[in-house]
């Protein structure tokens, strides 16, 4: 009997060691640098607040730390959408002027693999920018670095919160360089295909209410990009 108990205790310690390796392994899901940061092309830069209560509306299944806003917003509780969120927010340009409206739909991805350091979300953005027209962005995002470096420390903290400075790329595909696909729907760019990257900058996070100070950024490479960009130049 005592051997069985010892074996079980060992197994529990083994699972804890595995969890620690996953969380602290520095080789899993590095934040990387944006492949667009070395682009010669014109870039559209759009910023938005990632704090749900700063959005026009944010909703999910109501069970997450990221609470729906406003409180009486219809929640996404039905089985098909209970792992999804929807947000409408104001997009600002690099000078903090209103650039348009952004709508983001995001769903947990079945391709999530914790062993590989991947907590994936399949998301799409719809942007209406009066100067540019409408844009559709398709991407997969990896939140593992954010969870490991912001959310986990918040749980470990006695105050159940995290403060600091975290900046990382969320977009991991479907583009070969970890970029999103961008399609212009109407306006001067109609029909144009582009690529983009979404990043997140976090300054404060609370276990009770999610992000307290965080800003998202969308970078979109305008057409006319150098088609012969050397992939190796983007290698991390």
């Amino acid at each position: 009997m005592k051997y069985l108990i010892t074996l079980l205790l060992g197994a529990i310690v083994g699972v804890v060691i595995l969890a620690a390796v996953l969380i602290y392994n520095p080789f899993l899901a590095q934040r990387g640098i944006s492949p667009l940061s070395v682009s010669d092309s014109e870039l559209i830069s759009l910023n938005y607040s990632s704090v749900p209560s700063d959005a026009i509306v944010f909703t999910n299944n109501g069970e997450s730390q990221w609470k729906p806003y406003p409180e009486k917003t219809l929640q996404l509780w039905e089985p098909s959408i209970r792992l999804s969120s929807a947000m409408a927010t104001v997009m600002h340009d690099a000078r903090s002027q209103t650039a348009g409206i952004g709508i983001k739909f995001s769903s947990s991805s079945e391709r999530t693999r914790l062993l590989r350091g991947e907590v994936l979300f399949d998301s799409v953005w719809y942007l209406y920018l009066p100067d540019r027209g409408s844009l559709f962005i398709e991407q997969s995002e990896n939140y593992w670095p954010f969870i490991r470096e912001v959310v986990a420390p918040a749980y470990r903290s006695s105050a159940k919160s995290w403060k600091g400075s975290w900046l990382g790329n969320l977009t991991t595909g479907p583009g070969a360089l970890g970029t999103s696909f961008v399609t212009a729907g109407s306006g001067p760019l109609q029909g144009t295909k582009m690529q983009g990257v979404e990043s997140l900058s976090a300054k404060a996070y609370s276990v009770d209410s999610g992000p307290i100070a965080a800003e998202g950024r969308l970078l979109i490479e305008m057409p006319g990009a150098d088609e012969n960009t050397d992939d190796a130049a983007f290698a991390e």
């Binding site: 005592k2 051997y3 010892t6 074996l7 205790l9 060992g10 197994a11 310690v13 083994g14 699972v15 804890v16 060691i17 595995l18 026009i56 509306v57 406003p70 409180e71 009486k72 917003t73 219809l74 996404l76 039905e78 089985p79 098909s80 959408i81 792992l83 999804s84 929807a86 409408a88 104001v90 002027q97 209103t98 650039a99 409206i101 709508i103 739909f105 769903s107 947990s108 991805s109 079945e110 999530t112 693999r113 914790l114 062993l115 399949d122 799409v124 719809y126 209406y128 009066p130 027209g133 409408s134 559709f136 398709e138 696909f181 729907g185 109407s186 306006g187 001067p188 029909g191 295909k193």
Partner: protein, 190 residues
């Protein structure tokens, strides 16, 4: 005893890793798609939004009643003439299968009526609708882009308002009907 403990640790690590590898952390609920084949060989899929119960957001300048309650639409000249709606999206069986947005905007250079349909288990589609109404109250547009399973499709989308005539007390006021016609393409949209 120590050997047993060490074996337990190894077993714990292996079992934990195997469980993470074998069992999906995320399992999206998937409703069976209801796709019909049109006489011309194209595939059509019908969605609808029950109004007002499926409305998540109605945002436009100068609204007298906010939806959802407490929502504040940004007051900015840049957003003049922009109307954004978010909905839950239903299939032909009246089951919620996704979420959708409809954006209408007018400015001096171009008009916009855009839909994004997000079906979490399958992907998303982006359609631009022409503003001219056709006979029967339809508006017609094109699929501009898609993601995942729907990325390789092109085709068209129609939208139509269908008022409820059942007279039932708890019936919706009507529904927005969307019919997507898919054409598979070897090149896809990318």
């Amino acid at each position: 005893m120590l050997k047993t403990f060490i074996i337990g640790i190894v077993l714990g690590i292996v079992a934990g890793a195997a469980a993470l590898y074998a069992y999906p952390v995320v399992d999206q609920h998937r409703e069976a798609s209801i796709v019909s084949v049109a006489p011309n060989g194209r595939n059509t899929e019908s969605f609808h939004v029950n109004v007002p119960m499926d409305r998540i957001l109605v945002g436009a300048p100068g609204q007298t009643q906010a939806l959802p309650p407490g929502m504040e639409w940004p007051v900015d000249p840049v957003l003049e003439g922009v109307r954004v709606e978010l909905f839950k999206l239903r299939n032909e069986r009246d089951t919620v299968v996704g979420v959708a947005s409809r954006t209408v905007a007018k400015n001096e250079r171009f008009d916009v009526i855009d839909w994004v349909l997000h079906l979490p288990a399958r992907g998303s589609v982006f359609a631009s609708i022409r503003s001219e109404a056709l006979e029967g109250g339809f508006r017609r547009g094109e699929l501009r882009a898609g993601s995942r399973e729907l990325a390789t499709l092109s085709g068209s989308v129609t939208e139509r308002w269908v008022a409820d005539t059942s007279g039932n007390e708890d019936a919706p006021a009507g529904r927005i009907e969307l019919i997507a016609t898919y054409v598979g393409s070897q090149d896809g949209l990318k």
